[in-house]
């Protein structure tokens, strides 16, 4: 089993970059991984004939057959448990959970087996499983279709937790996740599925290693630490902040576990102020970890406590009210304004 297959050679034709959506880049990543490695198998609800409710697996059953892209019965624990058995036999399963909240039935399989099998067997039985989960809100979804469940996974030792925010990372990180010999919970920000960027399936970006954050915007006044669906909001907030005289850095974490302490701490030290932004409920969320570890590492560089802008500690609201729940530009700027500038 290859642990990091190189990206496929560029296809013959035009090399000019074109525009692509995150959804299509994810689809390309799956296709290329399946072409490169016959042990890669996709399974989940509606992933075959339909190509997934978000069409991320579109065309895979047609190209690779129903066995490589399997429509399963409707049972998430069964899907993940079956994937565990397939991985034990040398396959490299990529599981799709249809929505964030519908991954919960597989929680026991994930926590008690997927995360622990390598450890339990002293490294003899690794489980190279990728678990793709469309997550987060902002798409007008009804109850149970907008959960941000990253904290549950990030808190579970033995899992990698990765979430792309750009089209290129959709491709690069998913290729890495599939090539990883560790289980990866791959969280896809569903409201960015249709976001576009310059990118071409014919000349895909290289594989992005897991575990590295990236500074998306370099500033000097304060640093926004964020990931996934909140990245575009933070970039927008950073633009808006210029009017207030603040020049903000924006860090895209990309990988929640492992965590890139180096990049994050450097970015925070450079500005002395930081705000963490994410959609999920704040209490005991990933933002708490980020704030705590940044403070541990950068205490004497901080002019103000690291603040958090997160979803409220409430069940995800009905669609017509979600705008009030989601961290938006104003709420981020409010937090920035509280970073004790008068000192």
């Amino acid at each position: 089993m290859t642990s990091a297959a190189p990206p496929r050679a560029a296809a013959p034709q035009s090399a000019a970059p074109r525009t692509a959506t995150l959804a299509s880049a994810l689809n390309s990543a799956l296709r290329d991984a399946m072409r490169d490695d016959p042990s890669v198998h996709v399974l989940g609800e509606d992933v075959g004939t339909l190509g997934g409710v978000f069409r991320i697996t579109d065309g895979l059953a047609a190209e690779f057959g129903a066995d490589r892209c399997l429509d399963t019965p409707l049972a998430e624990a069964g899907i993940l448990g079956t994937a565990v058995g397939m991985a034990m036999y040398g396959l490299r399963p990529v599981v799709e959970m249809q929505f964030d909240a519908f991954a919960y039935p597989a929680f026991e399989q994930l926590v008690s087996h997927v995360a622990r099998m390598r450890n339990r067997t002293a490294g003899r039985m690794p489980l190279p499983i990728t678990i793709r989960i469309p997550y987060g809100g902002g798409i007008g979804g009804v109850e149970h279709h907008s959960d941000s469940s990253e904290a549950y996974y990030a808190h579970t030792p033995g899992l990698h937790v990765v979430t792309p925010a750009t089209v290129a990372d959709g491709y690069g990180l998913l290729r890495s996740a599939i090539a990883s010999d560790d289980p990866v919970v791959f969280l896809e920000p569903k409201r960015l599925y249709w976001s576009k960027d310059d990118w071409s399936a014919e000349a895909p970006t290289p594989i992005e290693p897991i575990g590295r954050a990236v500074v998306r915007r370099q500033g000097s006044s304060a640093t926004l630490l964020t990931y996934g669906p909140s990245l575009p909001v933070c970039l927008e907030a950073a633009e808006a902040a210029r009017a207030e005289g603040w020049d903000l850095s924006v860090v895209d974490l990309r990988s929640l576990a492992p965590f890139d302490d180096e990049t994050v701490a450097a970015a925070v030290r450079a500005t002395g102020r930081a705000v963490v932004v994410h959609e999920s409920a704040g209490f005991a969320g990933v933002g708490a970890e980020i704030a705590a570890r940044v403070t541990e590492r950068c205490f004497h560089h901080l002019a103000a406590p690291v603040l958090r802008v997160t979803g409220f500690d409430i069940p995800y609201p009905p669609p017509m009210l979600e705008e009030h729940h989601l961290p938006g530009v104003d709420r981020i700027l409010d937090a920035v304004s509280k970073l004790q500038w008068e000192q």
Partner: protein, 383 residues
Amino acid sequence: MTVLDHDLATAWTPDAHGPRRDPAPLLPESEPVRILGTPALRRTVDSPGGPELLRDLHRRLVVGRRFNQQATTLTKQGRLAVYPASTGQEACQIAVAGALRPGDWLFPSYRDTLAVVSRGVDPLETLTLLRGNAHCGYDPYEHQVAPLSTPLATQAPHAVGLAHAARLRGDSTVALAMVGDGGTSEGDFHEALNFAGVLNAPVVFLVQNNGYAISVPLAKQSAAPTLAHKAVGYGIQGRLVDGNDAVAVHTVLGEAVQHARSGAGPVLVEAVTYRLEAHTNADDAGRYRSAEEVAGWRERDPLTLMERHLREAGVLGDQEVAAAAAEAEELADRMRTLFHVKPELDPMSLFTHVYAEPTPQLREQAAQLAAELAAEAATGAER
């Protein structure tokens, strides 16, 4: 020397006859129960109250179909966020309401809005979830209807618990849980049926087998002879019925509810039916099933079947058909009116019902939102 079953039984169970039981009485019929087009229809027609019952079922079918159509129209107008139509499954949906008494409880799945409305819940309140202004829009205690359940099969154990609690209280309540063919694959379905069997709870499980779970056909969902055969594994009664035959579903569900109410134990009913529309308005059913297949099922449309057979049997005439259509139009009118009004939204309601009393943390967060809203209002006023 032989190990006697009888010995095993006394050893393990309080009951000298258990655990081994004869499976035969639990197995479903080998063909779905049908009444339309069979001699049984004539018997119904000739029974006291029969013609009224049949006309009533027909009327409710017609109204139910209109409900589905109007709700679908509302999605096109952007007045509903999404609608999973039960078009083609109306016979099951209305039969549920007919089989239950007031005091009985209904545990619907996300597609079962028509069953909820048939039970008496206001259409606007029923559709709130799908409109997007609130989660469950109705008071579950008003008509004894649990919230529409989106996570599949998770409401099945709730029905068991409620039925069990009611029996402990000495009430004659029956709970009825609705699950799709796909939902039967979930662990919660299994655990619910097993608990029901062990507790002998007065609960009925209705599986609407419409052949698909979104795009996944039944053959990829289950290899069972029929879904009703699952009952035997839980020591409960399995029944198989033609889900497009409104009279048959009404009859079989009525018997099942009576069976449960009498203390004879839970029942699993599989109703064989078909979803004529796409999974929801957002789905493209053409990707996974053929026009011919759908056309074949349109010929077996529960409404068409019902009207044809009742006319043939002489219990339905133009007048009744027209009256039903008028009632259906009235409902559609009412829905249009109801949905014409924009819902009132209170952002502060986000914090009201998370706990009995908001925690200090939620009070802080509510204050933050209130301040934001006030600031916005001020800015708005300034402009």
